[in-house]
């Protein structure tokens, strides 16, 4: 029986701007993460995916909702959570340029969490830091290097080693490779996957890259403007994407092989702009860009439906326990089709 380690229920995080506007960055999100699995969280800018990450690690306190981590509710603890809880949930940030202090050596950066969490002797700390570097596949000479002499991928791996220092059971990967080239990304990702197996880590993998998600996640959840649209086991998700936004997102991905082109299920041309999170549309948040919108979408916020076991969709087109849509798909407007390469 795989244990559920994190249970997010109806999570809300609102920000009040000084000019009085309310930003509902995360607005009622339910997620579960099981031991040793990777949950992929996908969204574009303004979707609130990073906000969820920051609430989980304690940078922000949730406005409402629960985050049950191994039996404790840590939704509103912020940085006041216990040292053990801090150690258990760790994060790798997106920007390799700013995740390490450029004036401190890799060794010093690695020893900071050891110093705080383990209270061991200096020589033990150094030994442990070398060990951590080895785990992520970096040579021990890196201890005395400064971040500026490292490549982006190496810096992200050092961040990974630093996160492992506190023996976490859940790692939040906030777009860890989006700033890297694909050849470096491949290196970092394959290392992270190996580590997950070795240490039985759970990953919350945040990204905007669906192709990457296909290869790393066990389950995928799609966010749009602070709300979940769809959630499913990875294979099912890519075979049967249901939410109109998911379909638009999938068909927008530029792919490198003809084989993948086949995978793009329906050609839904991307239209419209992502609304500002300050003005989330009434009803379904996606209604400004949805091809299949119905009158109800403008008024009423849809609820999550479980169309098949583990596959959830938040859309008025669907009911529980069926893949059948309430309304047939609209045809793409003629004359605006992409010129296919001949």
């Amino acid at each position: 029986m795989v244990e559920k380690i994190l249970d997010i229920k109806n999570l809300k995080k609102y920000f009040l701007l000084t000019n009085g506007q309310l930003v509902k960055a995360v607005d009622g999100v339910d997620l579960e993460i099981f031991e040793g699995e990777t949950l992929g969280l996908v969204g574009e800018s303004g979707s609130g995916k990073s906000t969820i990450a920051y609430v989980l690690v304690g940078m922000y306190e949730a406005t409402d909702g629960d985050i049950i981590y191994k039996g404790d509710n840590i939704a509103k603890t912020g940085l006041r959570r216990t040292l053990k809880q801090k150690g258990e949930i760790q994060i790798i940030f997106q920007d390799p340029g700013s995740s390490l202090n450029s004036k401190r050596t890799v060794g010093k950066s690695l020893m900071l969490p050891l110093q705080i969490h383990h209270r061991i002797s200096k020589s033990d700390m150094e030994k442990r830091a070398r060990e951590l570097l080895e785990w992520v596949g970096l040579p021990a000479e890196f201890m005395d290097k400064y971040p500026r002499t490292l490549g982006g991928g190496e810096r992200q791996l050092v961040s990974g080693a630093r996160a492992l220092a506190t023996n976490p059971s859940l790692m939040i990967l906030d777009e860890p490779t989006s700033a890297l080239d694909v050849s470096v990304q491949a290196k970092v990702i394959s290392r992270l996957i190996d580590l997950q197996k070795e240490l039985n880590l759970a990953y919350l993998f945040i990204t905007h890259d669906l192709s990457l998600m296909r290869n790393v996640a066990n389950r995928v959840a799609i966010l749009y403007l602070g709300r979940l649209c769809e959630q499913a086991p990875t294979a099912e998700f890519f075979e049967k994407p249901l939410h109109p936004y998911t379909q638009m997102l999938l068909s927008s991905i530029p792919v490198a092989t003809a084989e993948e082109e086949e995978m793009k299920p329906v050609k839904i041309l991307s239209t419209g702009e992502i609304p500002s999170p300050v003005n989330v549309p009434l009803g379904c948040a996606f209604n400004t860009r949805c091809r299949d919108k119905m009158p109800i979408c403008m008024k009423e916020r849809p609820t999550m439906k479980e169309v098949s076991p583990g596959h959830f969709v938040c859309c008025h087109l669907f009911n529980d326990n069926t893949y059948t849509r309430i309304k047939a798909a609209a045809q793409a407007p003629a004359g605006e089709l992409q010129p296919k390469q001949q």
Partner: protein
């Protein structure tokens, strides 16, 4: 021969550019050559730092001040941009070729509204006494053709009042407005969200068809290049390692670097990803003597380390810079 020459809008020949970095010389571009025919979409693809943007800037002769063009030429409609008179160069920039930048937020001047930037650029591109009203109409038309609604409001807006996608559309409008025939697109969707990137790429393709443009598309994304070019050049560390028809190069890759790069791209089919390419991009201060990929290449032999491989045509229209192009899989 004469006919094909006439059909070529841009030709880059053996272009080598280095940079003066605090007294040391960084040898970035090393013998870049490619051609762009009229109404053709040519891609330059490679990882960051491989010299894609430098190549584009060289085409318009807007390289940074510390850049040195060592050898080679860029022929726009048969004339070398490095030897052009100032007047000719200005004409080429105004009506011949234009560039779309990666980050539209930094490509637009933050303290002027769109109108001021757009109209000023148009004023020099159009005949001297074009009335202001006409310039304004041209600009509005261009904004309309990139599918920006509410053009009058856009004209009065400052860059920070527009979203990334809108800014990029405005930049495209500025580039096509004066009737330029060649568009140099430097990662036009990279700084935008996936769905917005898709719109921008479709827009460029649409404009290319409607206005019979030629496009040089630069990207780090193999997917973008496959979907929006006809001909592709794979770049590695300031050299072109493989070039040919996009389909050919993508489905029948020959160069070890191209193959390695392809295997690194995560696929929607979900067959896992490779372990990456060992090693790092070479230091441009001391680039490898022979093939620039040789230090990282699993197939490298003695000759690869000492002598630069020639760019050979291994099948019609498919060129590879590798001594062992046939043997690699």
């Amino acid at each position: 021969m004469d006919n094909t020459q006439k059909d070529i809008i841009l030709e880059v020949r053996d272009l080598s550019v280095s940079f003066d970095v605090y007294g040391s010389v960084s040898h970035v571009l090393d013998g870049i050559s490619f051609k762009v025919k009229k109404r053709e979409r040519v891609g330059l693809v490679g990882e960051s730092g491989c010299g894609k943007t430098t190549t584009l800037k060289a085409v318009l002769n807007v390289l940074p001040k510390n850049a040195i063009v060592n050898r080679g030429e860029v022929l726009f409609e048969g004339l070398n941009v490095f030897k052009m008179s100032n007047a000719k160069l200005a004409t080429m920039r105004r009506t011949g070729a234009g560039m779309i930048f990666q980050d539209p937020s930094s490509a637009l001047n933050p303290v002027f509204n769109i109108e001021k930037q757009f109209i000023t650029a148009l004023k020099y591109a159009k005949p001297k006494n074009t009335p202001a009203q006409e310039l304004h109409e041209i600009a509005i038309d261009a904004l309309n053709s990139v599918m920006l609604p509410d053009q009058e409001r856009i004209m009065k807006s400052f860059p920070l009042q527009l979203s990334g996608g809108m800014k990029q559309r405005a930049c495209i409008a500025m580039t096509i407005a004066a009737g330029r025939q060649l568009i140099l697109a430097d990662e036009p969707g990279t700084s935008l969200d996936v769905t917005i990137q898709d719109q921008i790429l479709r827009l460029i393709n649409q404009l290319m068809l409607d206005k019979q443009l030629s496009v040089v598309m630069v990207s780090h994304s193999l997917g973008v290049i496959r979907e929006s070019t006809d001909y592709v050049n794979i770049m590695y560390a300031g050299t072109i390692v493989e070039s040919g028809k996009t389909d050919d190069v993508f489905h029948n890759s020959k160069h070890p670097y191209t193959l390695a790069l392809m295997s690194c791209v995560p696929k929607l089919t979900g067959k896992g990803i490779s372990k990456g390419i060992p090693g790092r991009m070479p230091d441009y201060m001391i680039p490898p003597q022979g093939c620039r990929f040789s230090p990282r290449c699993p197939y490298a032999q003695e000759i690869c380390h000492t002598q630069k491989p020639p760019h050979l045509e291994i099948s019609p229209g498919h060129w590879v810079s590798c001594y062992f192009a046939g043997e690699v899989t």
